[in-house]
Symmetry: C2
Subunit: 340 residues, 2 copies
DNA sequence: TTACATAGTTCAATCGATTGAATAAATGCA
DNA sequence: TGCATTTATTCAATCGATTGAACTATGTAA
């Protein structure tokens, strides 16, 4: 019956004006200690709930942060989500969340909606194929000068802050590890999507092959989605080749797990008969059978760095766009070994 | 420089009043086709962005939905998140997201904040140990009569809607499968937390043991966190027992994966030397080495049902609190086999 | 005592969209 | 032509918090 108490309710109760209540509740020193306490007390008793719509309307934004990801089924991305959520919670920011499923229209809609909500900043793993135009074009005026940090995937020529993994380095580390172990027949699996991640990792692989004088043929490059199933089904195909690869470099851990599962069924021993590597080093990599050699992407550093950057932009800091590249680390486990 | 256009900006441009613009943009039939089009056109050109603070202030709520989970590192929960996100997106609802990390204070704060934001509904996986008081007590007045659906974990005696998995049935299916395969020495791993899930699964295990006349001793029950590491480290301990179990029933897939990893290292063959079962049937269960026998929790059905329920409550539907229990399915794979 | 600073509080305008009531204009009908 | 009805639009109040300016007691210095 009694609708939600407002500043007015409290003001009447205590015998002051709404202004006094507003100031008191935000601990403004202009209000005396004594009244402030009486007001806060009354708010407590009445079960007052702050109305952010009213505040946001007056102040212009809600302080909310928006986050948009593309693949919730990949723990790699939920790790990001976790790290950023923690930082934003610490800064007392609420989070609007969107799962864009690699769908440009969903991403576009979310960007519009978060603007409607008066979000104060946006963290985005851009949908595959996102262009400068999508973020910087005329139909997204609200993103001009808007705090926006891109993570994980880069979009060229944007004036936005970006925090990404050094994918080129990651593949180099894996390749050198395998090359030094004597491997000469390599296969690359994955990364079909139109993302900087896919491009950079694959081109780094090609570059490494070039550097040691190995030819890159259609037998060495295989595109497919980032799924367990892709890795699983590819193994059979690779083994059926006249000269099967001795080392399989996968675009991500997920694909590598699929390969390991197929190895198990085919009685092929990863790390002995064949070497398999992942990328991302998600938690499960240490516990697969066998444990997976991978490249640890520092989701913690990237997530922290991105949220820090966003918060500083939200605080009004002005500096040229930052492009931060975080180096990953090689983690050698049992899925790789010397070439047979 | 030019600040965001408002209804007024458009009104001036077109030569009508804000009321007309407001109505036109929401396709109200009161405004003629012709003016409506001119207005919508102008809005487009000016790059108008709807201000939900203003609308929310006037209307009383923002239509936003709040979702609070506890373990992002567990794909089981992110599956829920995905299913619900999809349904809410379809209903054009934005999602406020919180990761409570099993921490009551975070959960409590989120509940307050989502109320401040004028969220219209809440989906909650209650933090372990959440009581009726936490959701129904005097300090959360705003939850009285508020659309709230609990998922996955039950909280007794609340007047809220709940959608949960039939954990008792799930364990029964696994137990019967193993018992019929000849197993008589069972170990239960996991579920240390104070949740209905942990309680129901464990008590179902005890019940099954009772039913077939097997004693439950301290050797058969082992509590620990839902982590890969717990499963991994427990295996060694179990094998060291004078009469090791032939079947290990894990609280969740995560723990089972840890057990499988340890099996691999110890040269124990799951499905042959020992049987291991998970619970949840997350995507990776089909691809572990060996593939994991598990119980498929219908995160899709639960997620859909919960979002549907919430949306109907948000639409004002009144009916007694619903407690929906969704039956899971047994999925037999290679990690279980006849008792040695 | 007068003038003045200071602390504490109130005034009143403001943010932008919504909506029921009011008005104006156009149409139908006898 | 006059009156009722429908259609199109405007009026004006409203939601609740914020904030710079204004006011009112006090205390303080000259």
């Amino acid at each position: 019956m009694a609708s939600r108490p407002t500043l007015k309710t409290i003001a009447d109760q205590v015998g002051v004006t709404v202004s006094a209540v507003s100031l008191a509740l935000r601990d403004d020193p202009r209000i005396s200690q004594a009244t402030r306490e009486r007001i806060q007390q009354a708010a407590q008793v009445l079960g007052y709930v702050y109305n952010r719509h009213a505040a946001g309307l007056r102040r212009g934004d809600s302080g909310t942060v928006a986050v948009c990801l593309n693949d919730l089924s990949n723990p790699f991305f939920t790790e990001f989500l976790g790290h950023m959520e923690a930082r934003f919670r610490e800064a007392d920011r609420m989070m609007l969340f969107c799962h864009a499923h690699e769908t440009p229209s969903i991403q576009a809609r979310f960007i519009r909606q978060m603007a409607e909500h008066g979000a104060a900043g946006l963290i985005l793993v851009p949908v595959a194929g996102t262009t400068r135009e999508d973020l910087d074009g005329p139909q997204v005026k609200h993103l001009q000068d808007f705090p926006l940090v891109l993570i994980s995937r880069d979009v060229a020529d944007t004036g936005f802050d970006r925090v990404i993994n050094d994918d080129v380095l990651g593949i180099r580390l894996l390749f050198e590890h395998l090359y030094e172990a004597g491997h000469r027949r390599f296969a690359w699996l994955g990364g079909g999507g139109d993302t900087s991640t896919a491009r950079d990792r694959e081109s780094s692989f090609r570059q490494q092959m070039d550097a040691v004088g190995l030819p890159v043929t259609s037998d060495s490059i295989h595109h497919g989605p980032t799924t367990l199933d892709f890795g699983d089904s590819m193994l059979k195909q690779l083994l059926a080749m006249p000269e099967p690869p001795t080392a399989i470099i996968c675009f991500s851990d997920i694909i590598a797990f699929g390969v390991l599962a197929a190895c198990y069924r085919h009685g092929v021993r990863p790390g002995v008969d064949i070497s398999v590597t992942g990328f991302d080093d998600m938690a499960a990599a240490a516990y697969s059978a066998p444990a997976l050699t991978s490249v640890r992407v520092r989701t913690d550093l990237i997530g922290q760095c991105a949220s820090e950057l966003l918060l500083s932009r939200m605080a009004g800091e002005r500096y040229p766009p930052v492009r931060k590249v975080v180096p990953p680390e090689l983690v050698v486990r049992a899925s790789t070994g010397p070439a047979a």
